[in-house]
Amino acid sequence: MKSRTSELTVGIFVIIFGVALFFLAMKVSGLSGTNLRDAYDMTAQFDNVNGLKPRAKVTMSGVTIGRVTDITLDPVSRLATVHFELDGKLTSFNKEQLQTVKSNALEELRYSTEYTEAAPAQQKEMEKQLVDNMDSITSIDEDAYIMVATNGLLGEKYLKVVPGGGLNYVKRGESIANTQGTMDLEDLISKFITGGAGKSSEKTADAKTSDESADAEASFVE
């Protein structure tokens, strides 16, 4: 009898332990696995990801659409490469929307000079290529940019995708080209104090032109 009750109480003890461990794992460390449906990986390169950690959220218009999986340093460009996975259900079009997007893109193609100057056979080829390219697109357009944002003034860092207005869309597994790293408050202050404000605006202008050239390059490839 004595051993029966002690077995019972030890059993209860183990169950309480299990519940506590489950609580620590799920509720405290948020280890609920990936609840992303139809997940796929993307990358982006930043000049500064200070404060960003793996498992930080990725949002678009305030909706969480993914998580950061890994942060590495590219030895050639010396930029931080952030790998993140996105929810496929939230970031792709449904069939009807895809149809509209395709027809919009075809229309755009038909007005381009390249298309009008090409031979009919080539035109067919281009249309086919375009439609094939659209199979694995996401709802993030190529003009969209991704930035390291802060939750509140002192909160944790996360990635924010800001949609652009482009008609070309990024495909799954590609990288988002337009990025903006962590805003360093100290840098801004030191620029302000040393009167480097003019320089910084020059710099952003440079960045803009380089972005534009990147865009131009991208459209040239297509």
């Binding site: 461990l21 948020g30 950690k53």
Partner: protein
């Protein structure tokens, strides 16, 4: 001259004691479990683990409450009371739960182990066991040691969970910190592999130290009533000092480096 001889004898005694304790520990750790041993182990789990549950739970709750209260009153000054969840959970998981649970365990279970084994020795139960061919190490010491090693980490996890809920009670329910920011701040800063697992590893080490000291002090105590009293005191003092000392070393190894 006499004093020097006494000092030397004491040092030799202590070093010999460490040797005996190590041999005893290795004998127990590397011996095959038997069927009888397992049922004895279950019974000791009941006495050591389950019976400590109440004190661990109540202390965990109060420590969580105090952390919530203090954390709030400090953080609200800098306007970042949303960090309360992060503060409470990291403090508990990394430091307070393993250390406080181990100290309570040394006082609650360790002293009882020493007194029990010491009294068995004083009433010559251990010697009579040897006489009838039962190894007292296997029959008495081994189940108690294993029960201590297994139950303290479990108690630590329960302690941390109750403490975090206690912090939530004060912070969110009484003082009005936003519940969403309490949990999400916690989830974004606590890493299971880093914080929770390292806390459990710490408590496994503490469990080994506490129960090892307790059973050795009982096994090696002088078979008089005064001897049992001295051994019980030593158990609590040595266990507490070792836990605090090892805590520093383990923290330096686990959390001291650059993340």
């Amino acid at each position: 001259m006499n004093a020097i001889a006494l000092l030397g004898r004491r040092v030799i005694e202590r070093v010999r004691g460490i040797g005996v304790a190590t041999v005893m520990l290795l004998q127990i750790l590397f011996s095959m479990p038997t069927k009888l041993g397992i049922s004895l182990f279950i019974y000791q789990m009941h006495r050591i683990g389950v019976m400590s549950l109440l004190i661990i739970g109540v202390s965990g709750l109060f420590i969580g409450l105090v952390l919530g209260l203090q954390g709030y009153s400090i953080l609200v000054n800098v306007g970042s009371e949303a960090m309360l969840g992060t503060m409470v959970s990291l403090t508990l998981l990394r430091e307070l739960a393993p250390v406080v649970a181990a100290l309570l365990f040394a006082g609650r279970a360790g002293s009882a182990l020493t007194a029990e084994i010491g009294l068995m020795k004083a009433t010559e139960q251990l010697s009579s066991m040897e006489m009838i061919g039962v190894d007292p190490l296997k029959r008495i010491v081994s189940p108690r040691l294993w029960a201590g090693i297994v139950s303290l980490p479990m108690l630590t996890v329960i302690f941390a969970a109750i403490g975090i809920l206690g912090g939530k009670m004060v912070g969110v329910d009484f003082l009005g910190v936003d519940e969403g920011s309490y949990w999400s701040g916690m989830q974004s800063s606590v890493q299971f592999g880093h914080d929770v697992v390292n806390g459990i590893i710490k408590s496994i080490v503490f469990a080994l130290i506490c129960t090892w000291i307790a059973v050795y002090q009982g096994y090696a105590c002088e078979p008089t009533s005064e001897g049992i009293a001295t051994s019980t005191t030593r158990t609590v003092v040595y266990s507490s000092l070792c836990v605090l000392g090892f805590d520093f070393v383990l923290t330096a190894v686990m959390f001291g480096g650059v993340q």
